[in-house]
């Protein structure tokens, strides 16, 4: 009976010690202000996660990516009467410099979207909505990048027709599972 009592007390403490050592750490990567004036004038946002101190601290202990969000404030620069804006984010796993929508759709992978913005409107991307807009393959793809060199390129574009939009305070948020 004494052994059982000892085990019952020691076991949870042992488990606590094991699992206290891992946790979720959020890193945010500033993409700045992105101006896209049309499908032939895209912006290549080159990301280098090694410039982020939290990523550098935890990348060797990285075990997974639990959550993602692409945040910012989107303005549809086309006036009322124009088409509704549908913003998407695409990714290439290396540093690239595509400038047209055709190049991106042919060579990149869709990461996120579409986020719908009415003509002339400005919306702040909602965290929960943003998290739901990631494609099913976004999480493993970004995990692969984070376990690799942490360098990739993001493109933001519209889904069809004419578009002209600005995203201010653009931030890519990645929540890592890592030893803390």
């Amino acid at each position: 009976m004494r052994t059982l009592k000892t085990l019952a007390l020691v076991l949870p403490l042992t488990l606590c010690g094991c699992l206290l050592s891992t946790g979720q750490t959020t890193i945010d990567y500033d993409l700045g202000t992105i101006d896209v004036t049309g499908g032939d004038n895209l912006v290549a946002e080159q990301v280098d996660l090694s410039t982020n101190a939290d990523y550098e601290e935890h990348k060797d202990d990285l075990e997974g990516v639990t959550d993602l969000a692409l945040l910012g404030q989107v303005t549809n620069n086309l006036s009322a009467g124009s088409g509704t804006l549908n913003v998407e984010a695409w990714i290439t796993q290396d540093t690239t410099n595509y400038t047209t929508e055709a190049q991106v759709r042919a060579n990149a992978i869709k990461l996120w979207g579409p986020l719908v913005v009415a003509p002339g409107a400005t919306v702040q991307i909602d965290w929960n909505e943003s998290a739901e807009l990631f494609t099913p393959w976004a999480r493993p793809l970004l995990l692969s990048e984070m376990k690799g060199d942490g360098v990739f390129t993001i493109y933001l574009l519209g889904t069809s027709g004419l578009y002209d939009f600005t995203i201010e305070n653009t931030t890519l948020v990645l929540t890592m599972e890592a030893e803390s």
């Binding site: 009976m1 059982l4 009592k5 019952a8 007390l9 076991l11 949870p12 488990l15 606590c16 699992l19 206290l20 891992t22 946790g23 979720q24 750490t25 959020t26 945010d28 500033d30 075990e63 997974g64 639990t66 959550d67 969000a69 945040l71 910012g72 404030q73 702040q124 909602d126 965290w127 929960n128 909505e129 943003s130 998290a131 739901e132 999480r139 305070n169 653009t170 931030t171 948020v173 929540t175 599972e177 890592a178 803390s180």
Partner: protein, 182 residues
């Protein structure tokens, strides 16, 4: 796993109807209190946990306690790039079993450590739904006769495969010993 725990809980509730019912004490308790996530940048808002327990004591040092819990994760407020964001917390449902050193159904003042295992269902807006096994442990303090008040401090860790979700909670419970044995 969830079905197995529910079946085990029902089996324990049926025990008082068996031949050993003279030695078996059992009861029911409702509880609730605050819950605080630990080590989670993406889920650090305090929430509320509540549920129902069915303690059963068989006449020796160990008691078992099937329980069903719900935790509503609190919102997280964060600022990124000068813009404020609100994120919903993770809601958790649990069906589990506690193993208690002592007799929470007994009369008087009692202190009892416990450990437990359970099936956890985690759900959050924009997050992947998870069904996982988790572990908990803590210390309870109870007093009363047939009608009891108990206070517990509990540590929970849910194994989510690569790491874990952890939380501490403090709950107060009101219980009734339906079939006492002391």
């Amino acid at each position: 796993m969830r079905k197995a725990i529910i079946l085990a809980a029902l089996a324990l509730l049926a025990v008082p109807g068996t031949a050993s019912s003279a030695d078996t004490a059992w009861g029911i308790a409702a509880f609730g209190g605050p819950s605080f996530p630990i080590g989670q940048d993406d889920n650090n808002g305090s929430g509320v946990t509540y549920g129902v327990r069915f303690p059963a004591h068989f006449g020796f040092f160990l008691s078992v306690e099937p329980h069903f819990d719900w935790t509503n994760g609190g919102e997280t407020e964060e600022t990124f790039n000068d813009l404020p964001y609100t994120r919903d917390g993770i809601d958790v449902k649990q069906a589990g079993m506690n193993f208690i050193l002592g007799n929470p159904t007994g009369s008087g003042f009692r202190i009892y450590p416990y450990v437990g295992i359970g099936h956890y269902s985690l759900k959050g807006e924009g997050r992947e739904d998870l069904q996982k096994i988790g572990y908990n442990g803590g210390l309870g303090i109870g007093f009363g006769s047939k009608l009891k008040l108990d206070v517990r401090g509990d540590y929970t860790m849910i194994d989510i495969g690569l790491s874990s979700r952890k939380a501490i909670s403090a709950t107060a419970g009101l219980g009734l010993t339906i079939n006492p044995n002391d």
